[in-house]
Symmetry: C2
Subunit: 173 residues, 2 copies
């Protein structure tokens, strides 16, 4: 697996969005057609034999990986968004932030009971968004086959928060 090339195309931005945070900028990776293709190839190889029915992308960078992967896996694409963005009937799930809380939503008709679901986002950090997304899928009786991330920040221990054995991260930082 050629993950060095993937990692080398992610840019580190110090002190964004606030002082002390080392932001992992994936725009440099996306602009490189060959490397972006490699990322989607590797996700596809990992999940193509798992009979995924729907790929759930988390707003908004998750959409960038969820959309191509859904097409490659011949699966439907489901959007999980910030509150107020989805126009039809939704379920809402809150999660804690360092200060306060946030929430994500899913359309109630986005998943049929028993469908095999892959949840994807660019980054696994504290795990709050991913865990909340998993809760939404569970409420709709989807069968979570896996969680996929481009990057996982190990020191934040988001893996323990999501608490699911089926987490696949292309690169760990």
């Amino acid at each position: 697996m050629n993950t060095d090339k993937i990692e080398n195309n992610i840019r580190n931005i110090p002190d964004f969005p606030k002082k002390g945070i080392q932001f992992k900028d994936i725009t440099t990776l996306l602009q490189n057609a060959e490397v972006f293709q490699e990322v989607i190839d590797q996700f596809t190889q990992y999940f193509e034999d798992k009979n995924i029915h729907k790929v759930v992308g988390i707003e908004s960078r998750g959409f960038i990986f969820a959309a191509p992967l859904a097409l490659r896996l011949n699966a439907g694409l489901v959007l999980v968004r910030k509150p107020g963005k989805l126009p039809s009937q939704t379920l809402n799930e809150e999660y804690a932030l360092e200060y306060g809380s946030d929430a994500v939503e899913i359309h109630t008709d986005a998943i049929n009971p028993g469908e095999n679901i892959l949840i994807i986002d660019d980054l696994l950090a504290t795990g709050g968004t991913a865990k909340a997304t998993g809760a939404l899928v569970n409420k709709l009786k989807g069968n979570i086959i896996g969680y996929a991330f481009l990057m996982e920040l190990m020191e934040l221990k988001g893996r323990n928060v999501v608490n699911d054995p089926s987490i696949f991260s292309l690169i760990t930082l």
Copy 2:
């Protein structure tokens, strides 16, 4: 071109996000693997012989179409986002709304001078966002080959605002 099936999979939501607006909900289309594939196939067929170097997706629903299309065209993917979301050096372009204004940003290193650029979003409505995005690409000396939209709302005359002959809309409403 089988656009009936595409149009039939877009859901109309009355009075969203506010009274009097008929919101065109594409989540029903995206959840249908076959129809989503058809959309990307049709965009690909239209642009595959046009030597596109970068596909510019407009936040956030534009990402859903820009990402797969960039991969199909073997082009890089560039993100145009709301202010404050892109972490490195950016250009900013304001555009007028019904009340007030908004803006979009692009990384200054996202496009090299002379690159062939395709701009894509889900919807051409008033054309403000698309026109501002075009202005950003022009400032970076990109060569705009075309604008692509899943849907175009004809009565809003966004086509005249963008004022570019190379607008391709899969369906017009």
